[in-house]
């Protein structure tokens, strides 16, 4: 009888890069914190978004978690679909692999975490993330003692989980749609749900092995191109207005229907205008270096 190629296939982590601890999915003796979002229970109240904003003082214009809303069907047969989104805490995160300064890493319990003091704000991780889960903290925020101009993301509320609490969004979810726990513990609610229900993840083809899975996910709303092609006219206008007035700190946004090259030139002007602001940081750092 032919021997299996790898007798431990399935138990063994697939691969690991740099600062990634090996994937812990289904590996005995390890933890793999995961979130299951039961979309049948989500009512689109946005409590999770607000709870997250409040927990971390997330500045305006950026989000650690958000909810996409889509309307399906034609009147009178219509349905509103919600799609909460957050960092997928992948087992094989591209952001960790691509970070040039070891600012982001994979914790052995499944969290993908960010070290602000190491982050240089190069935004490699933001480009690398297939789920748009990362953002650059704006130059100005309400509490200026907190980090600015570095990459940030959902931490699965690491500080709360270590104290035995659930993440803020899970705590705030009125419908109990967000369920959090250790997927490797067969007694946990998430593991039981995973055994009982059909779970789907976002972009499974990328091989990132996400820790956030959905019950009752709508394939269209989960698709990337759908978000672009099926935007309502109002959302299209809103995005364009947002881009026109708030170019972010990377100056790459192009407003639809307006001359590209003019915007490219405007973006370059915008970039030059940020230099004096950043120069203050540079002078401050040199001041500390020279005068202690």
């Amino acid at each position: 009888m032919r021997e299996p190629i790898d007798p431990h296939a399935g138990d063994k982590p697939r691969r690991s890069y740099g600062l990634q601890t090996p994937g812990t999915k289904g590996v005995a003796g390890t933890k793999r914190y995961a979130m299951v979002i039961d979309l049948r229970k989500c009512i689109g109240c946005m409590s999770c978004v607000i709870a997250c904003k409040a927990e971390y003082g997330v500045p305006m214009g950026v989000w650690r978690t958000w909810v996409k809303v889509a309307d399906k069907g034609k009147y009178p047969n219509t349905r509103r679909v919600f799609m909460p989104r957050l960092c997928n805490h992948c087992d094989y995160p591209v952001c960790v692999r691509n970070c040039p300064t070891q600012a982001t890493f994979k914790h052995e319990d499944g969290f993908v975490l960010q070290r602000y003091n190491r982050c240089i704000g190069c935004r490699t991780c933001i480009v690398a993330c297939p789920y748009n889960a990362r953002h650059l903290i704006p130059m100005k925020r309400k509490d200026m003692r907190l980090p600015t101009m570095v990459a940030d993301k959902c931490t699965f509320c690491f500080h709360r989980v270590k104290k035995g609490l659930v993440p803020a969004c899970v705590q705030a979810c009125v419908g109990g749609a967000r369920i959090f726990g250790d997927m490797n513990d067969p007694e946990s609610e998430v593991a039981k749900l995973a055994a009982r229900e059909t779970l789907t993840v976002l972009k499974p083809e990328l091989g990132t092995s996400p820790s956030v899975s959905y019950i009752g996910g709508d394939w269209e709303v989960m698709s990337e191109t759908h978000s672009y092609t099926n935007r309502s006219a109002q959302l299209r206008r809103e995005f364009n207005t947002f881009k026109r007035n708030h170019k972010g700190d990377a100056f790459g946004d192009i407003v639809e229907g307006e001359p590209t090259m003019r915007q490219v030139a405007q973006n370059m002007v915008g970039f030059v205008r940020t230099i004096p602001h950043k120069a203050k940081d540079v002078l401050k750092a040199f001041g500390i270096f020279i005068f202690g």
């Binding site: 034609k74 591209v94 040039p100 190069c122 990337e224 978000s227 192009i254």
Partner: protein
């Protein structure tokens, strides 16, 4: 069933105009340096008179890069982390790039020094190292965006080759324009021979053909590809970035210069200089859609 997204959040394009300008600068620098090395590294003696101008242009273009890149960082002071052993991350493509961007200009400066001293042996040795670094630096700009599986428009193995070909033609294009300007200010006997410029224009024409071929391969992959790729081509490249993709890169940067360089117009200096200028500008069109267009669709996800 009809399905309309009524509410979502918007994500900014993370690498913007600055990065696209940087990609163009590195490309033009590498392309220019390739020409500089013809005389001293590859032994084509008639190219020796322009070696210094070409390497000076390559150095100047590359010296602009740190200004753009460092000020583009969220924390400019921390750029040094990219080079500190305790921070350097071997699996991050940007880590490789930071080493290349540091070493490439240094190698070019040393090469130029030996060229000035007319030291054939050392100019050749350092030139070989520099040419490898020049190609690697521009290879890296393709790779840094390619190694993001989520950015499907950029995630192609052709990326580094597209960048290198673009570098070659934009470097020659920019160099011809610079040599033309230089010739206005130097004595007649020091001017670059017209036949040499014509020869460089010929190389540029071959590069244009190869670049167009690569672009055609990308086009085929996009229109016969997955839903994401088809959509990206229709909505982003032929939609929002139509000007930079279709007009600036393809028509202005490839078709018109090619038409000039294969027609009798190539005998006229003004026409060759115009073609060179158009190529150099056209390649920037590719940098725009490649950097910003590649991330565009996902900002709505």
């Amino acid at each position: 069933m009809e399905s309309v997204v009524t509410q979502n959040v918007f994500h900014h394009v993370a690498w913007g105009t600055t990065i696209s300008v940087y990609f163009w600068l590195v490309g033009a620098s590498a392309g220019s340096f390739v020409i500089s090395s013809f005389g001293w590294v590859f032994g084509i003696k008639r190219y020796k008179p322009l070696a210094l101008t070409a390497s000076a242009m390559a150095i100047i273009l590359l010296l602009l890069v740190p200004i753009l890149l460092i000020w583009d960082l969220g924390k400019p002071v921390r750029f040094i982390y990219l080079l500190l052993p305790g921070y350097w991350h071997a699996t991050g493509p940007m880590s490789w790039g930071s080493v290349l961007i540091m070493t490439y200009p240094m190698a070019m400066i040393v090469y130029s020094w030996f060229v000035i001293r007319n030291d054939q042996k050392w100019a050749r040795i350092v030139g070989i190292v520099s040419i490898v670094l020049a190609l690697s630096t521009h290879w890296y700009t393709g790779v840094v965006m390619e190694l993001n599986p989520g950015r499907f428009l950029n995630h192609t193995a052709l990326a580094p080759l597209l960048f290198l070909t673009g570098a070659f033609i934009s470097g020659i294009g920019a160099l011809i324009v610079v040599l033309w300007i230089r010739d206005m200010f130097v004595r007649p006997e020091k001017r670059i021979q017209w036949s040499l410029i014509q020869e460089m224009a010929q190389y540029m024409m071959y590069g244009i053909v190869f670049d167009a071929f690569l672009l055609f391969l990308e086009f085929m992959q996009a229109v016969y590809g997955s839903e994401n790729l088809v959509m990206a081509h229709e909505e982003v490249l032929m939609g929002v970035f139509r000007f930079s993709y279709l007009w600036l890169e393809t028509v202005i940067g490839l078709v018109i210069p090619f038409a000039i360089l294969v027609s009798p117009l190539k005998k006229f200096k003004a026409a060759v200089i115009l073609a060179s200028l158009l190529v150099a500008v056209g390649v920037y069109g590719m940098r725009i859609w490649w950097v910003m267009g590649g991330q565009y669709l996902q900002t709505f996800y």
